[in-house]
């Protein structure tokens, strides 16, 4: 089953949703999906914001696949995943996160809880972002890699099932650290 294809680098991570509303209600900084993020403001009012978040989430889901049994996701490294996400659309959504909340949801400041800051149970301050804040100040959908700054050699994950796997020779099996032809990334 030898393959001439070089081993790809992949990224392993998770999709994380950051929402000030979720943090305000639960004191947890993130949730695992837009759907599971707790809402504080009426959903009709914040719909334009959540539409952007949901589209961003869809791009990330589209360009990554489940990585079991670790409850993580996997995608190609070196921005190769953007081809699947639709690079232009993705960048457009990313740009939209710079829009001001008040632009997208008129009357934003009036809809906020009063006071617009409160102390959390561990003494930390929780803030509701004002209408002149960019969306990204209060909300974000991001890919959170479990190993920042570097990809993982796919052969590392495929183990002996890799098409490039070479069984250790009788001599190598004494110290079987390097069984792969490809470059060791980890």
């Amino acid at each position: 089953m030898d393959s001439d294809l070089p081993a790809l680098d992949v990224e392993i991570g998770r999709i994380v949703v950051r929402s000030w509303e979720h943090e305000w209600k639960t004191e947890e900084k993130t949730s695992s999906s837009v759907a599971s993020a707790q809402r504080l403001l009426p959903s009709d009012f914040t719909k334009p914001v959540y539409d952007i978040l949901e589209r961003g989430e869809q791009y990330l889901l589209r360009s990554s696949l489940p990585f079991l049994p670790y409850d993580l996701r996997i995608r190609r490294a070196n921005n190769e995943w953007m081809g699947f996400a639709g690079q232009v659309d993705w960048l457009l959504e990313w740009a939209r996160l710079r829009l001001h909340l008040g632009e997208l949801c008129p009357g934003w400041d009036n809809a906020l809880p009063q006071p617009s800051a409160k102390k959390g149970k561990y003494g930390q301050m929780l803030y509701a972002p004002g209408g002149d804040s960019p969306i990204i100040a209060g909300y974000e959908v991001v890919w959170q890699p479990i190993l920042p700054f570097e990809g993982v050699d796919l052969d590392k994950l495929l183990r002996e099932f890799s098409p490039r796997y070479k069984a250790p020779s009788i001599f190598e099996s004494i110290a079987p650290a390097q069984n792969y032809k490809g470059p060791a990334m980890m």
Partner: protein, 413 residues
């Protein structure tokens, strides 16, 4: 007739009786043969697939079943009440557990052994004790007699496990396409050490596959069972561990297709990276790769009934699975009545005797008569005529034909 079970008992649907639908899939034998040429695609699991993981006794006999069986519990007897009660408690704990192992949920009652892992004894395994446990714990409130409930239990377990076979089959298709050992690499990942640091959140089984399996089971039974029965099965699903219970949310066409697609994406993820496949597209109809609506394909999957009743405190022979009636003795009274029947009825009975050698028809064409002693079964012939049959005594092999006549003559009203 099967019962008490003596040798491996296998239940598959005979392809000869499917009618109409052309078989579209390659045979598993061919697939296994091809997979043999892909390094690591096939392995041999040393564990005995007949042994229920949570009962530590020797493997009981299993018999292959070739048709949907009719269940007969007329000889039901609990031989060890304490043990039976213990087993019910244990089964409930596992079925409703928090999903810490791959042996909870429905898999505590029945299981599928992949042809990737065992080429000799692969298939679906359903212990007879599981039919009784499922009935006693979750179905006993239904307004139907015990045999019907046990038949329903069989269907619940079979539909769920058939989904696992269908997923296995779909994986094999990708394996043949890519020449890659997808299924075994995936299974091995659940047992192997994490290949890199930082991998956390280990889940012991593929939750989304259990969602799809329970959703398929509910969708199938919703076609044939009453609303009250389906609600009872939904309550059973609601009590199961994470993944299983979400089957309730995946009953719509769209949600079911999504659960199937996510299941296959989970198996294929690493290989999609390796071979630069685009599996993320929502326009891709991965659901069609599962042969769940192809009866011929499903018939390729062997189904084994395990005779383990004595292991759970129930007398051996308490439950019988009737698939076919290989031998019928016509009693003198019957012969006399038969001679009085019209030629068409006599011919129909003659043909029917041949048909039931292969399989008995589904109820109500073949059904046990309520309250009749000795136990008597009614087999429907043409023009409202029936034959009454009595099952063999323990140790005997032949059924007895005791009466033949029309609906009224036979005391059916």
């Amino acid at each position: 007739m099967v019962g008490p079970l003596r040798s491996p008992l296998r239940v598959t649907t005979s392809i000869n009786f499917l009618g109409g639908r052309a078989r579209t899939m390659g045979s598993i034998k061919d697939i296994v043969s091809e997979l043999g040429g892909i390094p690591h695609a096939l392995g041999n699991d040393a564990s005995d697939p007949r042994r229920r993981p949570w009962i530590s006794t020797a493997a009981p006999v299993a018999e292959q079943i070739t048709e949907r069986p009719v269940v007969d519990s007329s000889r039901w007897e609990v031989s060890d009440q304490v043990r039976w009660e213990e087993q019910k408690v244990r089964a409930r704990q596992l079925v409703e557990g928090e999903g810490h192992s791959s042996e909870g949920g429905i898999e505590a009652l029945a299981w599928y052994v992949s042809f990737h892992h065992n080429q000799e004894l692969w298939g679906i395994y359903i212990p007879l004790s599981s039919l009784a446990l499922l009935d006693e714990l979750y179905l006993s409130q239904l307004r139907m007699d015990r045999d019907q409930r046990l038949g329903l239990a069989w269907s619940i377990l079979l539909h769920h496990e058939q989904t696992h076979f269908a997923v296995d089959y779909a994986c094999a298709q990708f394996e043949l396409l890519l020449r890659a050992p997808i299924r075994r690499e995936f299974s091995n990942r659940f047992r192997a050490e994490p290949p890199i640091n930082g991998l956390t959140g280990f889940k012991p089984y593929l939750r989304i596959e259990e969602t799809a399996a329970n959703a398929h089971m509910l969708r199938q039974l919703a076609r044939t069972e009453s609303k009250r029965t389906v609600r009872t099965i939904e309550n059973f699903v609601r009590l199961q561990p994470p993944g299983y219970r979400e089957g309730l949310d995946a009953m719509s066409n769209a949600a079911f297709a999504a659960s199937v697609a996510e299941t296959l994406r989970s198996y294929l993820a690493i290989w999609a990276m390796e071979y630069r496949l685009d599996l993320g597209s929502h326009a891709l109809n991965l659901e069609w790769l599962l042969p769940l609506e192809d009866k011929g394909a499903l018939a390729e999957c062997p189904v084994y009934a395990i005779d383990d009743l004595s292991q759970v405190g129930v007398a051996s022979g308490s439950l019988s699975l009737i698939q076919c009636i290989a031998e019928v003795i016509e009693l003198d009274g019957f012969k006399k009545q038969l001679r009085k029947q019209h030629n068409d009825i006599q011919n129909d009975w003659s043909n029917c005797k041949d048909r039931i050698k292969v399989r008995v028809p589904a109820p109500p064409r073949f059904e046990k008569l309520k309250g009749w002693k000795p136990p008597t079964w009614s087999l429907r012939l043409r023009d409202g005529h029936r034959v009454h049959l009595q099952p063999p005594e323990p140790g005997a092999g032949a059924w007895r034909a005791v009466a033949i006549g029309n609906h009224k003559e036979m005391g059916h009203g």
